[in-house]
């Protein structure tokens, strides 16, 4: 699984950080998403997919299932 985030779209609601703190973080100064791990391990895949579906700005994308 490859994860991508679009900083320009992110509105900093932090839903992704609550769901998968190993994969996503937020910048301290403006709260915008920071991708910690662009190729997260299997154990994180479900949480990442949920983050994709709840992100209010549709700013998270995943390609492939590997």
């Amino acid at each position: 699984m490859k994860v991508r985030v679009e900083e320009d779209r992110c509105c900093g609601a932090g839903q992704c950080v609550l769901l998968a703190p190993q994969v996503f973080d937020q910048r301290d100064d403006d709260g915008i998403v920071v991708l910690l791990d662009g190729t997260p391990p299997e154990a994180e895949h479900e949480a990442v997919r949920e983050a994709v579906s709840v992100c209010p700005a549709a700013a998270i994308h995943v390609d492939g299932d590997g």
């Binding site: 509105c11 900093g12 839903q15 910048r27």
Partner: protein, 401 residues
């Protein structure tokens, strides 16, 4: 032309636990539909989850209350907010994004977790005071209202000695029994107070939200815009006080109705966060805040919404959309679905959501631990619900143990 008038649609709730039948019927038969509100205004109402997401993510719909056609629902029950400068909540892109990013850093998950010990102290103090006082006691006054207002004082950097003042004036703003004049007075008192507070923080910047905003504005703009920061302080108070308070009261109500859920939560505090999501979904208290006006013609759910048309997102009904939530009308404490619309969706999605989650989590865990046998002191169907208010909730909730 009366012949062309759209069908009337009441908005006020009739049952604390379910959306109105008329709204549910629209969701199933006419999900983007033009109706006439009790105020006489013609607006579109949107009732399906998918369509509301599309609406709230679409920047061709404006949040600017001053635009003609914006659906006004206020029936005088809310706080007098019309005297304030344009706030984040009512801004559109491109102004909205930079204004939101300027404060987002104050609401990150990390920052909220730092507030945790102080929130715990505030909650402990109020529950201990309940335990030491007479029974029955009104939960709304003893816990639901003071906790979120003190948390906001803490966040803003209101000194401890002024907390009581801040709390009493913010309580007046949201009270049903206080006259309009008294509300204006409370607003005026708070504005004067915040002006002094900001002046002091401009001289000696403190390590809190307002202090850091002052430093940030100096760095970015070279000067401090005190009116802007006053607007921000008011927005956080207005958006974060009564909302969280109402959710605290409704949470207690639901845990009384569902002893199984309550026992599960008491035994395993690890299940509280998913329960909070379900409570948010089940009550969807801020539905009436989700209004927009189209700035150009937009097709939504197969209907053409014309520029200038008002739109209302009936999120309570959409949060019971069976296309998204299996068995949607059942309160399932373990459901943990996070894709609900209780905090909205898109670029305006609630800025304070992670603070609200944290407050609710701490209140539930602490209350169930300290007063495990808390129960209503009157039959729950005799409680007075805020059927017609912009933010749904309970006016008074006598409890005992």
């Amino acid at each position: 032309m009366p012949a062309e008038q759209s069908p009337a649609l009441p908005i006020a709730r009739t049952c604390p636990y379910a959306p109105r039948d008329e709204h549910v019927r629209l969701r199933e038969t006419d999900p983007v539909s033009k109706v006439t509100l009790p105020t006489g205004a013609e607006v579109w109402v949107v009732t399906r989850h998918e369509d509301i997401r599309a609406l709230l993510a679409d920047t061709r719909f404006s949040s600017d209350r001053r635009r003609p056609g914006f659906p006004m629902l206020d029936n005088g029950s809310g706080a007098p907010t019309d005297v304030l400068p344009p706030l984040l909540l009512t801004m559109d892109p491109p102004e909205h994004g930079p204004a939101r990013r300027a404060v987002l850093g104050e609401f990150t998950v990390k920052r909220m977790n730092k507030l945790k010990p102080r929130i715990q102290e505030i909650v402990d103090e109020h529950i201990d005071r309940m335990l030491a006082g007479p029974r029955p006691v009104d939960l709304v006054r003893a816990l639901s209202l003071p906790v979120p207002s003190l948390v906001i004082s803490e966040l803003l950097g209101v000194p401890y000695d002024d907390h009581a003042f801040f709390q009493s004036r913010s309580a007046s703003l949201v009270s049903r029994t206080v006259s309009q004049e008294e509300k204006q007075k409370a607003l005026f008192d708070l504005a004067g107070y915040l002006d002094e507070l900001l002046r002091a923080k401009e001289e000696v910047p403190t390590d809190d939200l307002l202090g850091r905003q002052i430093l940030r504005q100096r760095e970015v703009n070279g000067a401090v815009d005190r009116k802007d920061l006053m607007g921000l302080a008011f927005l956080l108070l207005i958006a974060g006080h009564e909302t969280t308070a109402n959710m605290i009261s409704l949470t207690m109500l639901q845990l009384v109705r569902d002893p199984g859920a309550r026992e599960a939560l008491r035994q395993d505090p690890g299940t509280t966060l998913p329960a909070v999501e379900e409570l948010l979904r089940y009550f969807t208290i801020a539905e009436q805040a989700l209004a927009r006006v189209a700035v150009e013609d937009v097709e939504l759910g197969g209907r053409l919404i014309k520029a200038g048309d008002g739109v209302l997102a009936l999120a309570h009904t959409a949060n019971r959309d069976p296309r998204v939530f299996p068995d949607p009308d059942t309160f399932d404490v373990g459901r943990g679905a996070r894709n609900h619309l209780a905090f909205g969706y898109g670029h305006h999605q609630c800025l304070g959501q992670n603070l609200a989650r944290l407050e609710l989590q701490i209140v539930i865990d602490t209350l169930l631990r300290k007063i495990p046998d808390i129960r209503p002191a009157v039959p729950v169907d005799e409680l007075s619900f805020k059927d017609d208010a912009i933010i749904y909730g309970i006016y008074e909730f006598p409890v005992t143990w």
